[in-house]
Symmetry: C2
Subunit: 219 residues, 2 copies
């Protein structure tokens, strides 16, 4: 019984996600669902991307948080349109929350939309939002064992951004162990090492992002 | 309607948590529900505590994970009894999972039981397990803005262990900003700064823990 209810929730979510996706494709808006643990660097990666691409690509952000608008304020200060969703306790965004947020966004003017999901490595992986790509961030201080513990998130991601590589000398994170564990779960995933603090690797991330945008819309 | 269902779930959980608590009190087992983001240092804090107290206090651990037994194996290597709960996708432990795990644990022989919850700053805060104290870990790399974003967890915690203070020179974490934000939400909470890597502050943590055990059982 419980499983049936859950299937209904996920089924209903998939249907709304497919509607969102049709809307994105009608306007040619490329959408990235950005997921990670709390504090891994979702907002920092968005801010770095804004700095690199603001002159070339019109961007917007949907911010998902349990509470507060700390991140939305940071992005808004850069002159980027932001819609804040507060889930009020909910541990993930769902497609219906995104549908409602889209009523406030002029999609015809937006080429790249980041959806910053709630900081959580578990439930966001189960809820499609209509995005073109799922990107997860794993920060070095979280440890190299995370693929074993949160396999769904690592399996679902199109790209895994390994952030805070500037801290590597102070940690025991083994990058080759980590890469092997990811590849076992998800051989197709792109793994990109960056430091949002120093800027290292951001060029590669932006280049991957632009390639994916081009492949989606042949621009 | 949805709210009513949720209330039923939480109400049923509270009832089972109260039964667990009666069982703990019958045997004089002090129970700590340990919660944090993925990789903040729950297992490391348990291992540090084991090293300090193994000769004085009989301990056991219930390990909660979405998948794997990585952490359980680490603790078992120290000769400590461990029960692994795999939630298979579930983002928190609940009181019924603990009740079932207790069937495998000889409580009359255990004075201190750690329950290591699933790595998640959101849902675990809503589900009582029957514990005497809720302890959360926030690691420095996660950032000093977390109390604003995850207010329930910070409000519910009896103690907040700030881990990875050895990384402070490499981060922008402002400890006084963080302490103020915590105190606004939860003036009673004990805030303990530690580094499970260097051992700094572990003495204070163990001392707090022993004081709480004494106050619960007047030993």
């Amino acid at each position: 019984m419980q499983v049936k209810v859950l299937q209904n929730i996920l089924g209903a979510n998939e249907a709304i996600a497919a509607e969102n996706r049709r809307l994105f494709d009608r306007y040619g808006t490329f959408v990235v669902n950005l997921m990670s643990s709390p504090g891994a660097g979702k907002t920092s990666l968005i801010l770095r991307t804004v700095k690199k691409l603001r002159d070339r690509v019109k961007m917007a952000v949907i911010e998902g948080d349990v509470a507060s608008r700390v991140d939305a304020d940071k992005i808004s200060q850069e002159g980027i349109s932001v819609i804040q969703i507060n889930t009020g306790g909910g541990c993930h965004l769902d497609a219906n929350m995104i549908r409602r947020a889209l009523e406030e966004l002029p999609l015809d003017d937006i080429k790249l939309l980041f959806i910053e999901n709630v900081g959580n490595l578990i439930c966001p992986a189960e809820f499609a939002l209509g995005e073109h790509r799922k990107v997860m961030i794993l920060s070095l201080p979280e440890g190299d064992d995370k693929p074993h513990k949160y396999p769904l998130m690592f399996s679902e991601a199109d790209a895994i951004v390994v952030n805070k590589v500037d801290l590597a000398p102070h940690l025991d994170f083994n990058l080759s162990t980590f890469r092997e564990a990811v590849t076992d779960l998800n051989p197709e995933a792109e793994i990109l090492e960056v430091s949002c603090r120093s800027g290292e690797g951001i060029e590669n991330w932006v280049s991957w992002l632009l390639t994916e945008m081009k492949s989606a819309y042949r621009i």
